[in-house]
Amino acid sequence: MSTALKDRSMLLQKEMIASHFARLERAPENKEPVVYTFVPGNLVELIRSFGALPVLPEINALQSGMRKQSGDYIAEAERVGHSEDVCAYVKSDIGMLRSGNIGPAGTKIPKPDLLLLSYTGCYTFMKWFELLREEYDCPAVFFHVPYQGDGVLEPEHREYMLRQLREQVIPALEKATGRAYDEEALRERLTLAAEAEDHLVAVLQSAKHRPSPIDGYFGTVYYVGPLFSAFRGTPEGVEYYRTLREEVEERLAAGLGPVTPEGQLNDQKYRLVVEGPPSWTHFREFWKMFADEGAVVVASTYTKVGGTYDFGFRHNPNDPLGTLADYCSGCYTNLNLPSRIDMLVRYIREYEADGFLINSVKSCNSFSAGQLMILREVEKRTGIPGAFVESDLVDPRYFSSANIKNRLESYFQMIQARRVGGLA
């Protein structure tokens, strides 16, 4: 494998992000409309088909976490009356806004021309955009994605979403951008999206091999970044995923593992499945705790919040609005608990994992409420004991390194002991 090739996808991603944020900063002077939306259920192809630029506040919040700025932003939000008890993403975002709204690339984030509230399995989304509407005094449109309470997308729910797209979302985008809906432009973007999605799935599924050429959690949160944010349905997005896939396939052919904070992890002692979001404030430290022990993550649910492509979904240019409804409905946050359990069990079996870990974050009821039940059920169905750690996404006060490290170490010892005892 050539290092130049390995680095190329990372480089590409960096360039894409930098130029997107630079363009966002100039958006007001260039008269480019800006639409804010959330990762799960983001309608980025539709937004872009109107010539608008997407902003995803969760991505800004997680980046603030990684750059160790979220602690101050959260403090600022709490100072102006936001509760300690609620999602820290929201507070990080509000704090960033009140501190000058300088985003992850060091550039100014423009104010939204429209808040596209895609309500996809997280209650906080609703409040987050109500709060931003207060701050920005801008229009908002609500897109209600019915929750898959019974584990399936019901036809009348799909119809309801289609009607909202036609009768609410598209008119709101038309008004905000001054452009008419152009279905051809949308189709083109959906074609590009599907192509990138194919590449991503090949990357995700490469982890079925031994050694796995990717880390399906820590590494994959980078891999899903472009597709879960501003770059689905763009030529740059396709280029990124084609490059990434080539790199992963090269590693696979060479029998190499992913690059971790501890270097290349070829000797993979443990294969894990992970449920729950990462702790962005301590991302590398957390990853290192795994890499130090020779543990690779082969699959994770968090990397499906922006779409469950590995179960077959692709954006379909032949059914442009229907496919958007299907997409939103199938995002991980919109799935009920039994479906989440099925997914984890399937990952454990298909990826031949010998353990699973739940990182339960204080911020997020959408993920966390019910995770102890998930733990129990997955253990029951797979016969594999799981590990449970608690932290937070971007609130550094809730990451206790010593506790988590101890917990992980004893978990790996337990897996080892089971192997020796012939149980696994």
């Binding site: 009356g81 209650y123 409040k127 609500f142 009607r163 609410q168």
Partner: protein, 392 residues
């Protein structure tokens, strides 16, 4: 015992009975009938009733339930309600429910519906996803579809498939229920000394576990008793309590607020019982009428999307003005997303209008009320000293 005291004691017994004996008794004397539970906040009780089932509100275990099993299901940073609900269920206290509805209140209740499916596969579980969009037609069609499906499912369980007229009767009955609740609330607003919130609250709680027909009779009797036994007004301040629509505050907390010198003149305790503000029409397709009334509802609450950009800022001013209140107590359950995420917006609007506010958090099992009492007492005193909010 006075008539009023008699009714209040009857309600208190129901409130304190964590075994839902009244529900079990109802099932005993109505062989073949079924009961359907619902969690906070809004569930269409008319539909449950029309299907011939007894609607039963599940509002947690308060401060009277020891949590033995529930904590194994929830991390410490999740509100208390779901753990006490699980405790009630795992201890067999909810075993008489053939169906349980989980309204779209928040992610905790949403995910609890999945837990229920896993723990109790024989119980009918439905997540009640109400329309959040303002567009009347798509939303109305969606909601009618949901109601129809719910009615079909519940009817299959109960074996009773109601005619349109029977559905209309259930709708009319709940119009009456809300009517009498509104009367009680209006009376408390006018003469809070005559309708102490502790009493009103107990009556509302009783209404969650008894048939609506019986509730109407008791509530009217209470209204009559109030007129027959007027009390003396005190020099209290008048407050709106908000944020307590899901996990309920312990009764001791409500009493503490009152004893600290605050008349509660508006609140959102057990909000689901009066969620729909209008009278549901009895003409045409009854489920469509029910759906339309939901969409034209004037209820503003944290659990629904606010379509009006200035809505959050205006809401507390309006409520204070309507209630003739002097100030607001934001009382939210710890870790409650809907209440706590809304609070900065609501409070900013109130404070801009010069309305005095205080805020505290509670859990349904909070045991120490001293601090609440002191806070509410100081608040009441300062209102008396400096004047309350006169929302324009």
């Amino acid at each position: 015992m006075s008539k009023r005291a008699e009714i209040v004691e009857w309600a208190r017994d129901l409130y304190e009975d964590l075994d839902f004996t009244s529900v079990r008794r109802w099932l005993d004397v109505h062989p073949g009938r079924k009961a359907c539970g619902y969690l906070p906040v809004y569930a269409p009780r008319e539909v449950i009733h029309a299907a011939g089932m007894l609607p039963v509100g599940i509002h947690g275990g308060g401060d009277r339930l020891e949590i033995i099993r529930g904590d194994a299901f929830y991390q410490s940073y999740i509100c208390h309600l779901p753990r006490s609900v699980i405790e009630l269920a795992q201890s067999g206290r909810l075993s008489m429910l053939s169906a349980v509805l989980f309204p779209s209140t928040c992610d905790v209740i949403r995910n609890l519906s999945g837990i229920w499916k896993l723990l109790y596969p024989d119980v009918y579980v439905r997540y009640i996803d109400v329309p959040q969009v303002p567009d009347p037609e798509a939303a109305a069609d969606f909601w009618v579809g949901e109601l129809r499906r719910l009615l079909g499912d519940l009817s299959a369980i109960s074996g009773h498939h109601p005619s349109d007229d029977e559905i209309r009767s259930s709708i009319a009955l709940y119009n009456d229920v809300r009517g009498v609740i509104r009367q009680l609330y209006a009376l408390r607003q006018q003469r809070p000394w005559d309708v102490p919130t502790e009493e009103l609250y107990l009556l509302m709680r009783a209404g969650e576990v008894i048939p609506p027909e019986e509730f109407i009779v008791r509530a009217r009797a209470y209204l009559g008793a109030v007129e027959a036994e007027p009390k003396r007004p005190r020099d209290n301040s008048r407050v709106v309590v908000t944020g307590a629509f899901c996990e309920q505050p312990p009764l001791g907390l409500i009493k503490s607020i009152e004893r600290a010198g605050c008349y509660v003149v508006d609140d959102d305790f057990l909000l689901g019982n009066r969620f729909v503000t209008g009278v549901v029409g009895l003409e045409g397709d009854p489920l469509r009428s029910l759906a339309e009334s939901f969409l034209h509802n004037e209820q503003r609450t944290s659990v629904m999307y606010e379509g009006d950009a200035s809505g959050k800022r205006q809401l507390m001013r309006r409520r204070v003005k309507d209630a003739g209140a002097d100030g607001i107590i934001f009382a939210a359950p710890s870790f409650c997303d809907p209440a706590l995420l809304d609070q900065p917006m609501l409070r900013a609007g109130a404070e801009q209008a010069g309305i005095p506010c205080i805020a505290f958090k509670y859990a349904e099992n909070s045991g120490q009320f001293q601090q609440f009492r002191e806070q509410a007492g100081t608040f009441s005193d300062s209102i008396k000293l400096w004047g309350g909010g006169t929302a324009a």
